[in-house]
Symmetry: none
Subunit: 146 residues, 4 copies
Amino acid sequence: MITITRLDAADADTLIAGAVAQADDLRVPMCIAICDEAGQLIAFRRMDGGKITSSTIAIDKAFTAAGAKKATHEYGAISQPGAPAYGIQSAIGGRLMVVGGGLPVVMNGDVIGGIGVSSGTPDQDRQVAQAGIDAFQRSIRQAPAK
Amino acid sequence: MITITRLDAADADTLIAGAVAQADDLRVPMCIAICDEAGQLIAFRRMDGGKITSSTIAIDKAFTAAGAKKATHEYGAISQPGAPAYGIQSAIGGRLMVVGGGLPVVMNGDVIGGIGVSSGTPDQDRQVAQAGIDAFQRSIRQAPAK
Amino acid sequence: MITITRLDAADADTLIAGAVAQADDLRVPMCIAICDEAGQLIAFRRMDGGKITSSTIAIDKAFTAAGAKKATHEYGAISQPGAPAYGIQSAIGGRLMVVGGGLPVVMNGDVIGGIGVSSGTPDQDRQVAQAGIDAFQRSIRQAPAK
Amino acid sequence: MITITRLDAADADTLIAGAVAQADDLRVPMCIAICDEAGQLIAFRRMDGGKITSSTIAIDKAFTAAGAKKATHEYGAISQPGAPAYGIQSAIGGRLMVVGGGLPVVMNGDVIGGIGVSSGTPDQDRQVAQAGIDAFQRSIRQAPAK
């Protein structure tokens, strides 16, 4: 057997709250999804005005980042024409996302989940996802015995 | 043009909080999804221990209840062998749910969204969905000027 | 965070070997799939002569048993016409299996994975899945310090 | 009628064992899939730590290599912008893989199956797939009367 550590529902709330605060600062309503380390959805929020096309994209960015243990913008770089992973963006029925905005959540070197953000530019999405992770990292440092 | 009234993200929080409280009372961790009146996902939560097979089921129950303006258990009755809607459970790639636990959210006679719950028995799922709606109705009465 | 225990690749080998031995006894070549507790595929084997239509069915039985923490034949009973979960067999794009042959793998009361078997009658499939679990349980007792 | 020669379950074990040994050497846990000449899955293994996003990708690489009788990296070259097979990577619901790591298994000039590997870089995936084929070829030479 293997023992795994993963995000719980309270962690997902913290990640979403951090992302929402950043999205509010940017004045861009976002779709935000949190997956566990197995790529399974834990929580989702579409802010008022978030794009309905972004729901699935946010969920799939979180799935990709958690499952592949890689930021989606890294896939963006290596899936360009001529690059080694060209074509990967159509894989898994199109669920493998190579557009920025999906980040793995890492603790002690292990991927324990993923966050995916969509509705802004890829740079905005990535910034909002990072803000979610920053909020989560702060919450861990404030409650080290958790 | 048509003007539509629908649930917003804060309403979704209220619905989920009411459902979570009931699920805690039942000691059954649930997947809970909220859709707007167009059947589009607003919010989702998988409580710690909620079944991963229930994520899609909860989302599709909310989608069905909001979009078809009907409780999913009502579809359960009319989709039995020999009944008029027999076979409807396979429609929309299997997204049309006929198992109890999906309820439309209604205000002034209009469907403004849907809630879908899954992980318990269909009766438990329905009870938890109703608790979400009850919490939402209380929040409206307490804030009549909204 | 949550800490989870799940099947590893060596456990999957043990489960498959136990199932294959029973399938050989029955002289029915089977498709056998092992998922982790999150419903993600770990291992699959189609024995020579196993049905190609059974590959997806075996994988989805393992997914259902692991993810829903329930034997697929239990869903068979509660999804009959007039029963509470009628219609659930079309859920998740048809991945939720209600035909016997999918069993959760349980240790210390926790579901740590699932096994799915297909190609025989549902009773044969279930018998072969159980033989896989029996082999796994024996392996744990023989190596308690693992 | 046509008589077909294809990989059997024991061959699949040999292919996977060869691939796993190479993956261990590279210290990259991999997902490895073996299909028969009809593109149908025979065997699959996700090594401990293999990416869950790579399960479907490995299966689809094996499917593509066996069914199209071509290495997936060859499709990578001819599906670049401006090249003759541009766009093929979205075909078959995204199952046609153009990223390296899928190789046909050939005997006496006939394709008798395929191996697909995913979780590393495309070069690592391809190297591991080749190691599986090498092990299979050695096993044939050692048992010429098979």
